[in-house]
């Protein structure tokens, strides 16, 4: 590739805690940087977050641009967007990856608009490939209907920017012996940054029940659970497998799971070791949410349901019969799953 700029990952920290998606992006960033032959760097904004900058180095960042200021302790949209755009303009990376967290989804487009560059959302993969005999970074994005995906490219504008949802890529491997440079950039924080918009309060609660993002097993119920009336059997199955409970959009609309546990294009993406889908027919905007899972088990009463195309193991049957049977059978194996 003719671009000589670095691959950048924008790290995200909240209240001194690093978002896992940053580590997932570093693993993909490492692959890209090795393939292209340029350095992988990270950017981190916050206050007193040097420890986190080191975490980024341990997970693959050769350099970390660290912008610290007391006023940057919490996400501040104007300050963060302006400073980030500034440091990007100064160092001219060729690729900038941002995690599609609630904050990332707002920050990335602001920065892209400032830089007047292209921003691809919802990547489920990215790699260097050929388009019309020229090398490009190809961003794979779920498409419409069935099993289609689109290959997006950003031929001219730089940096190429992309957001990736948490849970799509696997985390980079930590190596505490890895050496990297932490470059302190004194951010030029101005009063003007807070005149029109200011964060006044940040409240984060710990999620109820086993967290979806960290679970190695996810048990997801769909509309077909109507036959059983509620999600108690799903919870039971999840408990036996040591997994987290999730639901499709219809399940969420029914009130069986909260929005934070909804799997799908406009919800969560998960890539656990085992994904169990119960009573969901398999519409595309649902299946993109678990495409990256290692093993998929699907149960549905309709043998022609599209979910069976997206599963490794399929059981066709009435949930009222299959689910209790499955629970009994798994109890015999004495769960939970191995790590």
């Amino acid at each position: 590739m003719s671009d000589s700029g670095e691959i950048w990952v924008i790290g995200e920290q909240r209240l001194g805690r690093l978002e896992e998606v940053s580590l997932e992006l570093l693993s993909k960033g490492t692959a890209l940087s090795q393939r292209i032959g340029v350095a992988l760097s990270a950017v981190l904004l916050g206050d007193e977050v040097e420890k986190i900058a080191r975490e980024l180095v341990f997970h693959g960042a050769e350099k970390v641009y660290l912008l610290e200021d007391a006023r940057l302790r919490y996400y501040q949209s104007e300050a963060y967007a302006r400073l980030l755009a500034g440091v990007i303009e100064e160092h001219e990376p060729q690729v900038v990856l941002i995690g599609a967290t609630e904050i990332g989804k707002e920050l990335a487009p602001k920065v892209a608009a400032k830089l007047k560059t292209g921003l691809t959302a919802h990547c489920i993969d990215l790699y260097v490939g050929e388009v019309d005999d020229a090398p490009h970074i190809i961003y794979v994005v779920p498409g419409w209907g069935g099993n289609l995906v689109m290959h997006i490219i950003c031929p001219q504008k730089r940096p190429q920017m992309a957001t990736v949802k948490p849970g799509v890529f696997s985390k980079a491997v930590k190596d505490e012996n890895r050496k990297g440079k932490i470059i302190r950039v004194k951010p030029d924080v101005r009063d003007e940054d807070f005149r029109r918009i200011e964060t006044v309060e940040v409240v984060e609660e710990s999620p109820k029940g086993k967290s979806l993002e960290s679970a190695d097993v996810v048990v997801c119920g769909g509309w077909g659970m109507n036959a059983l009336g509620d999600f108690s059997k799903i919870q039971e199955l999840a408990d036996i497998l040591g997994g987290a409970v999730a639901g499709t959009r219809p399940a969420m609309d029914k009130g069986w799971v909260e929005e934070a546990r909804m799997i799908g294009q406009s919800g969560k993406t998960v890539s656990p070791g085992l994904f169990v889908s119960l009573g969901a027919s398999g519409a595309m905007h649902y299946t993109t949410g678990f495409m990256g899972s290692k093993v998929v088990l699907a149960v549905d009463q309709n043998p022609q349901a599209p979910i069976f195309q997206m599963a490794d193991i399929g059981v066709v049957g009435d949930l009222c019969e299959v689910l209790p049977c499955l629970i009994e059978e798994l109890k015999k194996y004495r769960m939970p799953r191995k790590s």
């Binding site: 487009p109 001219q156 504008k157 006044v200 940040v202 490794d312």
Partner: protein, 266 residues
């Protein structure tokens, strides 16, 4: 007081009919003709919030839509709900934009519309769902913006406090008008249009602008103004085993669990 409020709306295929949408793999394009369309669900929440603000402070609501005039369901519904007028941006030059080109198109239209106090958008659309246009548009207009807004309170006539969602929690933000807010479904329950509202649609103003009307430079909008595009469409090889278990219910389940063990999933 009188607030000048803009609401950006998109007309999208009805989610219940998504499976009917066909893809032209050769051109990497979607064929949406004949599919029932609706106003993007989150845009209804955006419009509802605008209507509530107008009821409280008086003012005018203008909805803006980019698209073709042949089917105007989204605009009609918006007017029936209570929007005062609509602007349709239609030009072949606007077609096939990426999110930044879309933001630019809206930007030039809003420049032509003039002074405003507040812009409401839905956080994302059900079809592309990037959630990018709101923040990008605000950036081009150089106004503060917040996404995933769940609650809006007016501190005084020139400033707001909003609560925006985090994955597990929230952030409270204060901002000064003019501003742009991208809202989530938590913010309100959109009203249904009444019969009276439906019958008033015919009297409301519908403005149609093309690229020349809004003085949009061709290199900023549409496909020409796009930095990214779909080079191709592929079938996603899932690489799934697709084994369907056979036998009685008990046999199927037993075999499934055995296979899971073999695959190392449990």
């Amino acid at each position: 007081m009188g607030l000048e409020i803009l609401v950006c709306i998109k007309q999208v295929p009805h989610p219940d009919h998504f499976s009917e949408i066909q893809v032209d793999a050769g051109k990497g394009r979607v064929i949406g003709e004949g599919i029932p369309v609706i106003m993007n669900p989150l845009d209804r929440h955006a419009l509802e919030e605008a209507l509530r603000n107008k009821e409280r402070f008086s003012g005018r609501i203008t909805v803006i839509r980019m698209g073709r005039p042949r089917v105007q369901k989204a605009v009609e519904e918006a007017l029936a709900m209570g929007a005062d007028r609509a602007v349709l941006l239609y030009d072949t030059a606007f077609a096939r934009p990426d999110t930044l080109a879309t933001a630019f198109t809206l930007f030039y239209a809003i420049q032509r519309l003039g002074k405003f106090d507040l812009i409401y958008c839905g956080n994302e659309t059900v079809d592309s769902g990037t959630a990018q246009v709101g923040p990008m548009l605000a950036e081009l207009l150089d106004i503060p913006q917040v996404s995933s807004v769940q609650e809006v309170s007016f501190i005084d006539e020139k400033s707001l406090e909003v609560r925006r969602a985090l994955e597990h929690g929230y952030i409270k933000v204060r901002l000064k008008l003019p501003a742009l807010l991208s809202v989530t479904r938590d913010i309100n329950t959109p009203r249904l249009p009444t019969v009276q509202g439906i019958m008033e649609v015919a009297q409301k103003e519908l403005i149609i602008w093309n690229a020349k009307d809004i003085q949009a430079p061709p290199e900023s909008v549409g496909l020409k103004g796009s930095s990214i595009y779909a080079a191709s469409v592929h079938e996603y090889k899932t690489g799934r085993c697709r084994e369907i278990m056979q036998g009685s219910t008990e046999e199927k389940v037993r075999r499934a669990v055995a296979r899971l063990k073999e695959l190392g999933a449990i």
